[in-house]
C-alpha cells in the first residue's frame, strides 16, 4: 500500500517533496484514469502520492501590466470565468473535457501530464507561457517549451512543484483555435491548432502558429514565424505556399486509435492554410 499524503499548504508540500519521492496529483482527473484497476480494486499507483488540490494559496488568477499569473491549483472553470483570461485560452478551455472535469482539473496538471494531445498546451505554447517552479530552497522560472521534453516527459526534479503559470499579455488583431476531435466535449484531440497575429498599417507585426498532437511535443517554430514577420499582408498571402511548405517537415504525426498520420498531416496543413485565409479576409 502506498503512503499518500494530502498537503494543505505550499510549505507542507515542498517539505514533503524534499524528504520523499512522490507522484504529484492535482485534480486527479487524468491520474486516476491512467492508473485505475478493476472496479473496487485499489488504484494501481506505483509511487506514493502527494495530493495538492486543497492548497488554497495556489488557487488564484491575477494580472499586472505585463503578465497574467495563474496559480497551479486554479481550476479550469475559474480560469474560464475570469475577466482577465485571454480569449484564446477561454476558447481552448471551453473545449476541454466537460464542466465536471473543469471544476477540478488544472492547467498545471495538463502541463505535468505532458501529453502531446494536451489541449491547453497548444495555446500556452502560442502565448509563450512560463512556469514558476519551487522547491524548499529555490524558485526558478522556465519556459513551458523547455519544460516539456518529450511524450509525458518534463524537466521537474523530485523535490519541485509547479506553482504558477506566467502568461505574457499579447495584443493580437485576431486569434484562431481549432480542436479536431470526434466529439466537442470529453474528447482527446486528433490534432489541434492555435494561431494569432497582429497587423498594424497592413504590416504583419506578430505571427504565431502552434500545432498539437502531430509531433512528440507541441510544434512552434519561431524561425519560420520570424521569416514572415515584418512583411505586408499581401506579401504573406503571396507566400502562403512557402509558409505551409516550411511547416511540412516539422509535422510528424503517429497512427493511433484516434486517427492516422496521413489524416493528421493533411488536416494540420489545411488548418495553417485556413489560418492564413482568415488573415487575408480580415
Amino acid at each position: 500500500m502506498v503512503k499518500s499524503l494530502i498537503a494543505k499548504s505550499l510549505n507542507q508540500a515542498l517539505e514533503a517533496l524534499d524528504n520523499h519521492s512522490y507522484q504529484i496529483v492535482a485534480g486527479g482527473t487524468d491520474m486516476l484514469i491512467q492508473n485505475r484497476s478493476h472496479t473496487g480494486m485499489p488504484i494501481g499507483y506505483k509511487q506514493d502520492i502527494i495530493y495538492i488540490n486543497l492548497i488554497d494559496e495556489l488557487n488564484y488568477i491575477k494580472e499586472d501590466k505585463e503578465n497574467i499569473y495563474i496559480g497551479a491549483n486554479t481550476r479550469l472553470e475559474t480560469i474560464l470565468e475570469s475577466d482577465i483570461t485571454p480569449k484564446i485560452l477561454k476558447d481552448v478551455i471551453l473545449e476541454m473535457a466537460s464542466p465536471a472535469i473543469r471544476h477540478t482539473a488544472t492547467l498545471a496538471g495538463n502541463i505535468g501530464n505532458a501529453s502531446p494531445a494536451g489541449d491547453s498546451l497548444v495555446v500556452l505554447y502560442l502565448l509563450d507561457c512560463k512556469l514558476e517552479i519551487k522547491s524548499i530552497n529555490n524558485t526558478r522560472t522556465v519556459f513551458l517549451k523547455d519544460f516539456i521534453t518529450g511524450v509525458r516527459k518534463i524537466a521537474l526534479n523530485n523535490n519541485e512543484l509547479i506553482t504558477k503559470l506566467i502568461i505574457p499579455k499579447t495584443n493580437f488583431t485576431n486569434i484562431y483555435f481549432r480542436k479536431v476531435g470526434p466529439r466537442l466535449s470529453d474528447a482527446i484531440s486528433k490534432l489541434s491548432f492555435a494561431g494569432g497575429y497582429l497587423i498594424e498599417n497592413n504590416q504583419i507585426k506578430d505571427l504565431r502558429i502552434a500545432l498539437g498532437a502531430v509531433y512528440i511535443t507541441i510544434i512552434r517554430s519561431r524561425e519560420i514565424e520570424k521569416e514572415f514577420i515584418g512583411i505586408t499582408v499581401d506579401e504573406l498571402v503571396e507566400n502562403k505556399e512557402k509558409l505551409i511548405k516550411a511547416y511540412e517537415p516539422l509535422i510528424k504525426p503517429i497512427d493511433d486509435q484516434r486517427s492516422n498520420r496521413n489524416y493528421r498531416k493533411k488536416v494540420a496543413l489545411n488548418l495553417i492554410k485556413e489560418f492564413i485565409s482568415k488573415i487575408e479576409e480580415a
Binding site: M1, G28, P42, I43, Y51, N53, A100, H103
Partner: protein, 157 residues
Amino acid sequence: MAKIKFKLNDKTVELESDINRRLLDVLRDDFSLTGPKEGCGEGECGACAVLLNQKIVNSCCTPLANVDGQEIVTIEGFSKTKRYQIIKDAFSEMGGVQCGFCTPGMVIAAESLLNKNPHPTDQEIRIALSGNLCRCTGYNMIVKAIKKAAKDGEGLW
C-alpha cells in the same frame, strides 16, 4: 490510510480509509449511496456525477483525498430539496427520463448549472450537459425539462 472528514448530504462524516480511492467507490461501498453510478469510469459519461462544493464533478475521477474538509451532495441528498422537486417534475412532464441510468447525473448537472446561472439559454444548457451521456439519446427532452425547471423554479436559484 488516513482520517478523512467531509460533509456528505448535510451530515459530517469521518472515515479511516485509503485516500487514493475513488470517491465513487467510497459513496457506493461505504455509504450505500447508489445514485452515483459507474458508466464509463473515465470521466466521459457523467453517470457518477455529484456536487462538490455545489459544483458538478465526476466522482469516478475524484480521489477521496480531494474531498477532505469539503462538501459533497449526491442525488440522494439533493432529492430532499425543493429545487430537486422542481427539476424532477419538469423531467417527468417533458419526458426527460427514459431508461433512467443517466438521470441522477443529468439532475446533478442541471442543479450545478441553475445554481450558477438561473436563466440559461438552450446553448448554455447544452454546454452544461456536455459531459453527460444519455444512451437513449433523449437530449432534446432533457434540455426542454431544464428550461422548464428554470421557469417553474423562478426565485429558487
